[in-house]
């Protein structure tokens, strides 16, 4: 089962390994990203960042959808990690279990506006966010589990 779906453009890093993983009793980190799934160097780098005792799966977005909808994933406590709003939309369209999405970190870039300390969004992101909200999915901003949830609709 999916314990948390998180958008974080650093994917696996300190906050994920040291706070979310123990706080939620995660036993499987699933990185859903088309580019990383094809990049052996990035896969190796994420492997080094993985906390011990936790399984790390790195799949393309379509493969992640297939795996999440398969009974094989049911016994895992999964932290699903994506690095963009676009990818999370693709996943939430196909995986009914995703009813809440954590916005952990999206760094600023050209054309993006900052809506909280760790989250910057483009116009395209905002359009997708509004669609997700229309579907009734909870969108909350927290870097670490002890932060107070900020609802994204109050930040746009």
């Amino acid at each position: 089962m999916i314990k948390l779906t998180r958008i974080d453009d650093r994917l696996v890093h300190g906050q994920v390994a040291f706070t979310w993983t123990p706080a939620l009793g995660i036993d499987c980190l699933l990185v859903a990203n088309d580019k990383v799934a094809k990049d052996d160097f990035q896969k190796m780098a994420l492997g080094l960042a993985k906390p011990s005792g936790v399984k790390l799966l790195i799949k393309s977005v379509p493969d992640a959808i297939t795996w999440l909808n398969d009974t094989r994933s049911a016994n895992h406590k999964i932290l699903l990690l994506v690095n963009s709003v676009k990818d999370v939309m693709a996943l939430s369209n196909e995986v009914a279990e995703i009813q809440s999405i954590n916005f952990g970190g999206i760094r600023g870039k050209e054309g993006a506006v900052s809506i909280s300390k760790a989250i910057s969004v483009t116009e395209e992101d905002t359009a997708i966010i509004r669609e997700l909200l229309k579907k009734g999915i909870e969108l909350e901003v927290r870097q670490v589990p002890t932060d107070n949830k900020q609802m994204i609709e109050n930040l746009l």
Partner: protein, 139 residues
């Protein structure tokens, strides 16, 4: 209540606290002492000020930078108190693990296992960098 003190030569303590703020979020009950930033003064008064905020029913875990350093040496006399625990040579993984640990678990066990795990974090990364394609096991 469990309280923490990071005590170092110079500004390492504040830097460590800044890293903790980023990785695990703001933490309560973490004191810092930065020795000799401001001349060659003893940290005695600062230590006493921290101790005043630690009641007999509290536990205090002190992280110092160097075993045998003057900071740790000045801390030693407080380590005789039953509710004070001193760990020297801390690193960031150790701080994270101890500070995030369950407050109801015994501190002696937490410190023991956190030290073992923190040692495992000191690795020669180059030796780990072996790229293995198609390693994704599925079930």
């Amino acid at each position: 209540m469990r309280k923490f003190l990071i005590a170092t030569h110079g500004a390492l303590a504040k830097g460590a606290q800044s890293s903790l703020d980023i990785i695990i979020g703001a933490t309560d009950h973490v004191f810092i002492i930065q020795a000799y930033l401001d001349g060659n003064k003893s940290i005695e008064a600062e230590l006493l000020a921290v101790m005043e905020q630690v009641s007999p029913s509290d536990e205090l875990v002190i992280f110092s930078d160097l075993l045998g350093g003057s900071v740790n040496n000045q801390i030693l006399k407080f380590a005789l108190r039953e509710n004070v625990h001193v760990v020297s040579g801390f690193n960031l993984p150790l701080l994270i693990e101890v500070i995030l640990s369950d407050a109801s678990s015994p501190i002696v066990e937490i410190i023991g296992s956190a030290i073992e795990r923190a040692k495992e974090q000191i690795v020669y990364v180059n030796n780990l960098m072996t790229i293995r394609p198609n390693e994704d096991e599925d079930d």
